[in-house]
């Protein structure tokens, strides 16, 4: 399956000045986006996506992957300097990053964040290349029932994991699936829920939903808060020594492995990986008492892990066509918009593109290392942008992005509608990420379901008589109902104890 000519072409493609320029730009935008509170990878990628339509797909996707990696690093920078994560993935970094900054070691903290992030990212890329190819080869046996099962599996994991209330996760997921049914029925060609509007005949572009639910909703949340500017500590520019970095390497390697594994599970994003890696680093550390008081291992572990989730999330995305997180969902959607078919076929149909993504990710890690260390002294300045200009600028970009997607003013109004919906969802603790993943996976789920039933002459047992589909569907059902069963069992145990 490995093609040497394709690898050579991909390497030349990634090393061309044009692609390198957009990779560096992507990492740079990602760092800035990560530093700014509220702007996460999914928002950043969905905002730049409409402006990449003129680029070759590989360049555009590499730019987005660069943005994603840079954003993970940027989130840690804010966590260390102002005791608040710029992105969710940086939440675990503040336990030790901020105490380091308070001790006058902000330069060292940012240096460790940068080095760990770059290492985590690079190592996960190697693992991605090793795992994705055999997984894709296996997935080539998949047919409609298996794709339906994979789609349900992806949704069940996201709905059950990334939520405080499993029913809210399920409702958000199902809402996404309902939105997918708007537009022309893919089989009969007849309109569904279009209310006579031609703008809805092609369905609702999920990018519109995404910009609304993430970017505009975030603007509304920030607008409601008082205008308080984050206080940034004056900081030393001293970077970590080679001896210090060498001592952190075992932690970085272990945490990267954790990040990679966690990242492959749909729904488990960088923040969860970072917390697990932090706990493991504390367990393995010779000085666990330093954790929470400025431990260098406590900074390196979450940062290596959250960047390693990027490579991990690319495994199901490339091999199965199932996104593992909000940012991965936008990357998947971008691939669809570029006319690519993510899934096992892509390895045989577009080998140059796949290898370009591998090389792009690997080189992106190096770019992050260089750019991050060079920019370290100036990163704090980004946090001094006053909030009124920041949220107005994000609003401007969000509406501009909506106009760029279809050019219809109807879609610009939809962005506002979904922005208000996203705000209400956040206030009521309905997670938006499952809704977005359902929007991306919904088409595959419905078409696979109907195709599978046409194949089997309407026999529903087809999903359980084919072993791969049966196993995946059982795991999906188990992962969704497990929290409910666990809650019932723990309540009964508590009752028995009381009795």
């Amino acid at each position: 399956m490995i093609e040497v000519a394709a690898i050579g072409e991909a390497l030349l493609n990634v090393l061309s000045p044009y692609t390198l320029f957009f990779l560096v730009l992507g990492v740079f935008i990602g760092i800035i986006a990560g530093i700014l509170p509220g702007i996460n990878g999914a928002i950043g990628i969905s905002l730049i996506l409409p402006f990449t339509f003129g680029m070759p797909p590989a360049t555009a996707l590499i730019m987005m992957l660069g943005l994603w990696g840079g954003q993970n690093f940027g989130g840690g920078v804010t966590a260390a300097l102002v005791h608040a994560p710029g992105a969710a993935s940086g939440a675990a970094t503040l336990f030790d990053g901020y105490p380091m900054a308070q001790k006058g070691q902000a330069g060292k903290a940012l240096g460790i964040i940068c080095i760990s992030s770059a290492f985590g990212w690079f190592l996960s890329t190697i693992l991605l290349a090793v795992i994705a190819l055999p997984l894709a080869a296996f997935a080539l046996r998949f047919s409609a029932p298996e794709y339906f099962a994979v789609g349900i599996f992806g949704l069940s994991m996201v709905a059950s994991m990334a939520t405080k209330n499993i029913f809210k996760g399920a409702i958000a997921t199902l809402m996404g699936l309902l939105i997918v049914t708007i537009g022309t029925d893919p089989f009969s060609g007849l309109p569904r829920f279009t209310f006579g509007r031609f703008e809805l005949m092609d369905g609702i572009n999920f990018l519109i939903v995404m910009i609304g639910v993430f970017a505009i909703a975030e603007v509304l949340v920030q607008a409601q808060k008082p205008n308080v500017q984050a206080k940034v500590q004056a900081f030393s520019r001293e970077l970590p020594t080679w001896k210090e970095v060498r001592a952190l390497l075992p932690t970085i390697f272990r945490s990267s492995g954790i990040g990679m594994l966690v990242g492959t599970a749909p729904g488990a994003g960088g923040s969860i990986a970072a917390f697990i890696a932090y706990n493991e680093a504390k367990r393995f550390s010779k000085h666990p008492e330093d954790f929470g008081h400025g431990s260098q291992e406590g900074v390196a572990a979450p940062e290596a892990a959250n960047n390693a989730t990027e490579g991990g999330a690319m495994v199901p995305l490339l091999a199965l066509g199932v996104p593992g997180s909000g940012a991965a969902a936008v990357i998947l959607a971008s691939m669809i918009l570029y006319g690519l078919r993510p899934g096992p076929q892509i390895f045989t149909e577009q080998p140059v593109l796949v290898y370009s993504l591998f090389f792009g990710l690997a080189i992106g890690a190096v770019v992050l290392l260089v750019l991050g260390l060079l920019l370290t002294p100036y990163l704090a300045l980004v946090m001094r942008i006053p909030k009124p200009y920041l949220i107005t600028g994000v609003t401007g970009i969000a509406f501009m992005a909506a106009m760029a997607i279809t050019g219809l003013l109807f879609d610009v109004r939809l962005v506002l509608f979904f922005g208000v919906l996203g705000y209400v969802m956040r206030k009521l603790d309905f997670p938006p990420a499952p809704m977005i993943l359902a929007l991306v996976l919904g088409f595959m789920i419905e078409t696979s379901l109907r195709r599978a039933l046409i194949m089997s002459d309407g026999d529903w047992t087809v999903f359980f008589t084919r072993p791969i589909s049966a196993v995946i569907l059982c795991v999906a059902l188990l992962s969704f109902f497990y929290p409910i069963i666990r809650e019932v069992v723990s309540r009964q145990r508590a009752k028995r104890r009381q009795a």
Partner: protein, 178 residues
């Protein structure tokens, strides 16, 4: 009783029932496709109503069933991206206008100005509409110094226009009123 969960569950149930009713207009099957276009939305709307019922019942019993992984502990809710230390609104004793707290007013102000933006864009064109709307948003967000508002508005509009319309060649709405 968790009133928020019960009420949101009831609203979601009503939405599910509405979609189920609405799907009656979708053709049910074709010669080659036994399920037809109606089956999937109906299936999802039924599941939507069931999940909503689950939310109502657990909300009534004041239970929050967290997500989680098989074999693992309870799922960690993903931390919100914003600075959690900044409160959602000014203190309750802060100045209120018409019974609404300043944060709520800013929120409604933003939504109203954005709605106006989507309406005036095709009428007066991108640049004039953006100048008016961005100035309003900056002021609602808490910057009242005229010179700064003016410079901020011109700066944001100019950067966005130059970047996306001039460099990326994007078509922005032009005025139809003049």
């Amino acid at each position: 009783m968790n009133r928020t969960n019960v009420l949101s569950g009831i609203v979601c149930f009503a939405i599910g029932a509405f979609v189920f009713w609405l799907s009656a207009d979708v053709p049910s099957f074709t010669a080659t496709d036994e399920l037809g276009g109606r089956f999937f939305p109906r299936l999802i709307s039924v599941l939507f109503m069931l999940a909503s019922l689950g939310l109502v019942i657990t909300g009534w019993m004041n239970i929050e069933i967290q997500g989680g992984q098989v074999g693992g502990g309870k799922g960690k809710s993903v931390p919100r991206d914003e600075d959690e230390r900044v409160p959602d609104d000014e203190p309750s004793d802060a100045l209120t206008i018409g019974g609404m707290r300043p944060g709520t007013l800013r929120l409604f102000g933003f939504i109203a100005v954005m709605a106006v933006y989507t309406m005036i864009l095709p009428l007066i064109g991108y640049i004039p509409a953006s100048l008016v709307v961005f100035a309003a948003l900056i002021m609602i967000a808490g910057e009242y110094r005229p010179l700064r508002v003016l410079l901020g508005t011109i700066g944001i509009t100019a950067v966005l226009y130059l970047l996306f319309a001039a460099i990326f060649g994007m078509n922005v709405p032009t005025a139809s009123l003049f």
